[in-house]
Every structure is written in C-alpha cells, then in structure tokens.
Amino acid sequence: MNDLEKQLRSAMRRCDPPAGFADRVMAQTHQEAGRESLRKIDFWNLGPKLRWAAIPALAVLLVFGFWFRTYELRQQEKEALAAKQQVMLALRITGSKLRMAKAKVKAVEGERLKTENTL
C-alpha cells in the first residue's frame, strides 16, 4: 500500500454520528412502531421462519443501541474531563492576574498613605 492510500485511509476513516443520534433513531423507531398496528409488528404473528429470522436482527439492533449509548456516554465523559481541565486552567490564570492587580492596588495605596503621613 502506498503513501496516498495510507493518507486516504486516514482522511476517510469512519466518523461518529452527532451526539444523540442513537436516541433520535430509537425515538423515531418507537414513534413509527406506535403508528403501525400492533398486529402488523407482533412478533408472535410472524410466520415461524420469519420469527426465527427476526431474532438475530433484533438482537443486533439492541446490541447496537446499547453499545452506541455506552460509547456516547464515554465520549461525553472524556469531553467533560477535558473541559474541566480547561476550566481549572482558566480559573488559575484569572486568579493569578486578579492577585497581581490586587497587590499593585495595595502597593499604590501604601505609597499614597506613606506620602500623606510624611506630609
């Protein structure tokens, strides 16, 4: 495999759907299920062949939904921890600058008082 193909693999690698995608799919599926008559989607009304065929497919869908939800939560946690570090860094920088300003104000005030006392 040459460089270009490696780069293409990297550039075209699989990307994740936006946050909440699995939830939206599930919600839409539930909505759709509600619209249809129960009889039409009743598992026990499927023919024996179809019933057995539906089991692995349903299992795949369920596993996919569960896996995706777990994955989303893990991603969210990672994002939150990175954000927390950024927040702490921002607060540390802000704190140091506020303390510096406070020290300067105090120094100026001190000098002013000294001058007044001398006078």
């Binding site: 270009l4 780069q7 293409l8 075209m12 759907p17 995608f21 065929a53 497919a57």
Partner: protein, 151 residues
C-alpha cells in the same frame, strides 16, 4: 458505519443524519427478512450507499450546494497530516458520484473491490479501473498541492 458512509460521501452532517435515520427506520421494517448480523450489516451498507448516491444525483441537490460552500469538518488528532487529510477529503468530494462512492467504500469501509462491485452492481473490472484512475488523479492533485511528498 451508516452515518459515516453518508457523511464521507455527502460531506453534510445534517443530510447524512437524515439519511441514516431513514435507513434505520427502514431496517426496522426489514428486520423480519434479515437472517443474520452479517446480513444486517450488508443490508445497511447497501441501502445507505444507494440512498446517498440517489440523494447526490438529484438535480436539486447538485445545484443547491456548491462544493466550496460545504465546510471542511474540523480536523481531528487522528489525521497523520491534517492539512493533507482535509485536502484529500475535498478532492474526493469533487469526484464524480460513482468514483467517490468507490473511494468511500474502499478506504472508509475497507471493502474489497469484489464487495464494492457487488454492492454497486457493476463489474469488478470497472471498480478496479475506476480506483486506479481515481488514485492517479488524486495523486497528481495532492502532489501539486503538497509538493512531492505524496507517493
């Protein structure tokens, strides 16, 4: 996989999500006819591939969005060379529909030419020749853009 194929092909997250949702909804109706996990995966790939191609081919869509209007998705740290990766994605986006889908299926889904041929219902020789021509074209463009670093 489903979202990713549509997104890499159309470069439009909202449309990709819309198509992916439709495909999952269709899956819900198709479930009784699908026999195994592999069958479900094959079916999902096939349907999203054709839905994406149909969407791109529609005249309205072609005229509605110029390529340059589509924002380049933010580069992520996984790109070994983010600049080249972004340029390649843009170049792939400018390919004709079928060639573009072949690249997506080959390099994003890691599918063999035989599987791509089956999915797109075209001869395997066509897939191979399109891939060769597309790679040559991309290589030329990438070399012009990035210098001689791309072999």
């Amino acid at each position: 996989m489903v979202f990713s194929i549509a997104y890499r092909f159309l470069r439009d997250a909202a449309t990709a999500e819309e198509l992916a949702q439709d495909v999952f909804l269709k899956l819900y109706h198709e479930l009784p006819r699908l026999e195994s996990a592999d069958h479900v995966r094959f079916w999902l790939r096939k349907v999203i591939t054709h839905r994406s191609l149909d969407y791109a081919r529609s005249a309205y869509r072609r005229h509605a969005v110029a390529l340059d209007d589509i924002p380049e998705p933010a580069a992520t740290s996984a790109d070994s060379d983010p600049l080249l990766a972004a340029a390649l994605r843009k170049m792939v986006a400018s390919l004709p529909h079928e060639a573009r889908m072949i690249v997506v299926l080959r390099y994003e889904e890691e599918m063999e030419p035989r599987e791509i041929a089956e999915m797109l219902a075209i001869p395997i020789a066509t897939v191979k020749s399109r891939l060769r021509r597309t790679l040559a074209l991309l290589r030329g463009k990438a070399q012009r853009l990035m210098g001689e670093t791309v072999r």
